[in-house]
Symmetry: C2
Subunit: 303 residues, 2 copies
């Protein structure tokens, strides 16, 4: 064995993550988290920004792609742990105006994961059966099971967004819902669900561009509905409804993250990174087998 | 413009598929389909074979990867068509002995698709509630919706496989199930479901190798259960139960395909190709928008 002293290596913890150094950038979750208990002014956030992100599209796409194996590895460990009774799971809630990229996020970010461990639900206008139940009823049915990664494309927040803007329920009932949502999300956290709520912040101008793209490409007509133009006319009311929801329902245990969404590559990178940070913190472990390996080997080789 | 005559190009139809030429290989579905109405002898099929497939692992992985964009494109068209009332969808049924690669198929093949259009269900031992219902009850609840790609990791066939081998129901009830399955699958076909049933044919020796790999790698212990060894001891009874199921439940409208599964790369290539052939035959179309594009453009630009 060589006795030559090795150059000093940066210290690593047991999972290979570098120990925090003074010049490490802050985690993205700190950069993007909406402060708890403070009024929210969406005009103060740049939809075209790329806080903490790579320099440009090419670098962003490469960085996102590079996160894939780590995301898939953590997902497998989360799932494996659930087979031994670990109840933890993650729920990604995606909200944002039309064209903000909820569907694109599922396609490009959730595509990193093994699809068998993902439980994805896109919430549409409630059915008559859903309307006959409390608004959280259909949400509860779509929650991820232990070990799974759940993804909500729209969610219970619709009931304080379009519900508020379109006055789909009496005002006092809408008011009540913020507290209900808060209680509901706390109960999820108590049950082992890491709730990651993402508001995809798209600008008014970028929305127009994206709607025009759908109109101009016949292969995207199926994504377009003239009703989208009427919704867009209510832009200020929706922005206000979002500000209220983001303020009242941001909590330490179920924070809101604002992801600038005018750049699709940044959106994909940022959400991939947020998921990675949360999964890494959970640090799920492969469970130890509770069987006699040598005995099992012997039996298999004798067969 | 140049007047130089171009070299003759192979003719293409409107979707860019080459027209059939005399020397085209037969579609993989013809190579792998189990003949209808004939006894099945699994020992006649080589689990290590690669019928119709690429020459080796590297070529196979490259070919499978190259199918990704076409699969994703067809899936998007299938989903888009459903938004205009097209009820068609595809259901991939995966069956095979332990370690035959059902989970690996979901990870590596279904990973080509947009996860939001996939409905994946892994059937485990039935719960008390499921046992209290007819065996097709839990199956019906997991079916894909129009436009979706459904994937069953195990299925209603378990009720004539482990059900038969372990005598989980009276013999006459098991006998009745083959006809019930046949009627059920016909009703699915009538409702627009393309049913693609795949038997992953793994050899006794390869199963031992894969079980030993799980034992030897602590990160795979969660996939191992000593009960797997007891199931393996019943190998001949399971092979017979498969032969009976494949014979009785192979129909023109819901055929069985036998995919040699000792080589994972061949399995991934073959199932990707089978899915592509079936989706290409469906040839789903982007629906035409039923709105006035010019009028919508004008309104958007005025906003």
């Amino acid at each position: 064995m060589s006795k030559t002293p090795k150059p000093e290596q940066p210290k690593k913890d047991k999972h290979g993550k570098g120990l925090k150094r003074r010049d490490d950038p802050p985690p993205l979750r700190e950069l993007l988290r909406i402060p708890v208990g403070k009024p929210v002014d969406l005009t103060a956030y740049d939809a075209d920004g790329k806080p903490g992100g790579p320099a440009d599209k090419a670098a962003g796409a490469a960085a996102t792609s590079a996160l894939g194996p780590a995301l898939a590895g953590l997902q497998e460990r989360l799932y494996a742990a659930s087979t031994a009774g670990d109840r933890r799971r993650l729920l990604l809630v995606l909200q944002g105006m039309d064209t903000s990229g909820k569907g694109g996020t599922v396609k490009h970010v959730i595509g990193h994961f093994n699809p068998s461990g993902c439980r994805i639900h896109a919430f549409k206008a409630p059915t008559p059966e859903e309307k006959a139940h409390p608004f959280l009823w259909r949400i509860s049915k779509a929650l991820p099971q232990p070990g799974e990664i759940g993804i909500f494309d729209r969610s219970h927040y619709e009931d304080v967004l379009i519900g508020r803007v379109r006055e789909l329920a009496p005002a006092d009932e809408i008011e009540e819902r913020y507290a209900e949502i808060d209680r509901f999300e706390r109960s999820l956290a108590d049950d082992g669900v890491t709730v990651v709520k993402v508001f995809l912040h798209v600008s008014y101008e970028e929305q127009r561009t994206r709607l025009l793209e759908r109109l101009d490409n016949p292969e995207k007509h199926w994504k377009f509905n003239p009703g989208d133009i009427e919704e867009r006319a209510l832009w200020p009311a929706y922005q206000e409804a979002y500000e209220i929801a983001l303020e009242r329902c941001a909590s330490e245990r179920a924070p809101w993250f604002l992801v600038p969404a005018d750049r699709k590559w940044y959106r994909n990178w940022a959400i991939s990174t947020l998921l990675l940070e949360h999964l890494a913190e959970l640090d799920p472990q492969y469970p130890r087998g509770d069987f006699d390996v040598a005995e099992c080997r012997r039996r298999l080789l004798a067969q």
